[in-house]
Amino acid sequence: MAKPSGEFRLKGINASPGICIGKAYLVDKEGVDIVARYYVEKEKLPGEVKRFKAAVKRARDEIRSVIDDSPEELQRAHILETHLALLKDKMLYGKTIETIETEGVNAEWALKQVVSKIKSVFLSMANAYLKERASDIVHVSDSIMRNLIGVKAEKIADIDKRVILVARDLSPADTSQINLEKIKGFITDRGGKASHTGIVAQALEIPAVVGLKHATSRIKSDNLIIVDGNAGQVIVNPSEKSLVKYEERKMDYEQYRAVITRDSHLAAKTTDGINVDVMANIELPEEVVSVKNYGGDGIGLYRTEFQYMNRTIFPNEEELFEKYKDVVEFMAPKPVTIRTLDINGDKAVSNQNGQDEANPALGLRSIRYCLRKPDIFLTQMRAILRAAAFGNVRILFPMIAAYFEISEAKKLLDQAAGSLEKEGLPYNRDIQAGIMIEVPSAVVLADFLAEKVDFFSIGTNDLIQYALAIDRLNPNVAHLYQPLDPAVIRLIKMVADVAKDKGIEVHMCGEMAAATHHIPLLLGLGLDELSMNPQSIPHIKRVIRSLSISDARAFMQGVLKKRTARGVFELVKEAYGDLLDTGYGMPRGG
């Protein structure tokens, strides 16, 4: 047997800054307690089946002894008799054995698979009483599982202390089901820098490390762990020495945050007197509070997908309008940039379960989806135009890849305004309209597209992904996702140059805008506005105040000659090295 404790470290990707120390809590993708999966050699399968049968027998003995102990409670004994019968039910018992044998997996995993399938059938039932019958099956399978594993695992719904969530991956739907106040930090096996887990963690201002590969297999529930979201590291079973060291680092970091937050409400003016607006990206209306706290100059990206997720019918206009109005009123007179529905690969709308797409990133998503479903699109645009009567609203169309898409979107926007006019509802059509530049074709066509809009907003997460053909959630290639790639820099430059030429503004709302070492570059390229997660705002404002635009422009001349991301990064380090040293919690490396 291995030693019960002993410090070890896991290296991952820093997705949200900060440090936390606490107990691990393992969940799997469905938000239920994790069950190990491993393959069993063919000749050992009969042994695995035997192990399962033995667990069933022990569960049977347990139930039997409860029945024997309570002879008077007839009602109770009745249901327990049913539980006894369920233990040997062919859909549970037989199917589990079949799964062990055909898939060659361990008994725990086979049982879990079988029960998940049964549970999903019950979940779709309308009759509340019959739906509840799933609990009988769950109860029985839990007692088998307990006898297989040997311990009773607690349930996620019962967490009453603050823990660090350890999962393979967390989708937007998963995170929305977890009681987030109970979570100190996130760590996941999968995911890259800009994954949803990181975005949620940043919004909650808790640390997250992703892409750890083996976190769920090497960490057990209740292990003491330290999550260093600044360095992208997790320390399991820390020694006394590590604990002391990280307690200190944690305090240092929190102090630093307090210092930079103090002057965050002042404008970000460069040393040569140019104002750069530093805006916030938000997903939930509730985040507006942290936008104000951190001194955001407005909202550069309000993602609107959240209201469409985890539900079976789409939100109606009134519901959308109320939320938008809350945000717009709260931020007024500062601008709120509302991006229209951008359903993407990892944010599926639950009532749109059509056919699975082999390649969702290139599929029917975002503006393509909205133009295909004008009713849904018009409903949202009416809500946006109505909210615009209460403050400073800009509308932003995502994933524009062709000229006709922005023409059609604007036609529908006029149609939405026309219908509001006819109904006599208060609205404001006089709002700025912009497009996300996140598909390479939009960069190439930027001069045409500029005719139709008031501003461009560069979405670097997707632009980099599409331009470099890198899935940033795939840990095998995530390291190739390089914002400083010369190809990416040239694309941004093309967009910025066209915008200047056509007299429209150019903004950036991807994660690229939140990293210290990108700022000299972005200023040199001529970005008018940067938008990022709210808690990065104070730091980035500070960085901007220490730079001069004219220096940054001169610096860009050198950058444009570099042939590799590494070369660009070295140049940044050479010219702005001292700046990087202050980059607490900001991504290192290039």
Partner: protein, 92 residues
């Protein structure tokens, strides 16, 4: 065995709570003694009558029309016993 060679009877769930775990267990108990397969069918969905879990997944509320199907003529008594049980509301 083909569809037209099966024997079947139609009945209605009349106990208050519908076909729940305990009642399903009683059907399954009887069905387990059959020679051939016994099916509980609601609309077009069929469940193995010897499995409580399978019967429960049909979600039969009070008033649901179900068909009990046997595949072997030797199981006629079992068919009758199950239909009687359902007709009597499982004695509840």
């Amino acid at each position: 065995m083909k569809e037209n060679q099966e024997l079947q009877k139609v009945t209605y769930i009349n106990n208050e709570l519908g076909l729940h775990a305990r009642s399903a267990a009683r059907i399954a108990e009887i069905a387990r003694n059959a020679k051939g397969a016994i099916w509980v069918v609601k609309d077009d969905e069929r469940a193995d009558a010897s499995s409580i879990v399978d019967i429960l997944t049909l979600a039969c509320e009070k008033g649901t029309k179900i068909r009990i199907i046997i595949e072997d003529w030797a199981d006629t008594d079992i068919l009758k016993a199950i239909v009687d049980l359902v007709d009597n509301g499982f004695g509840e």
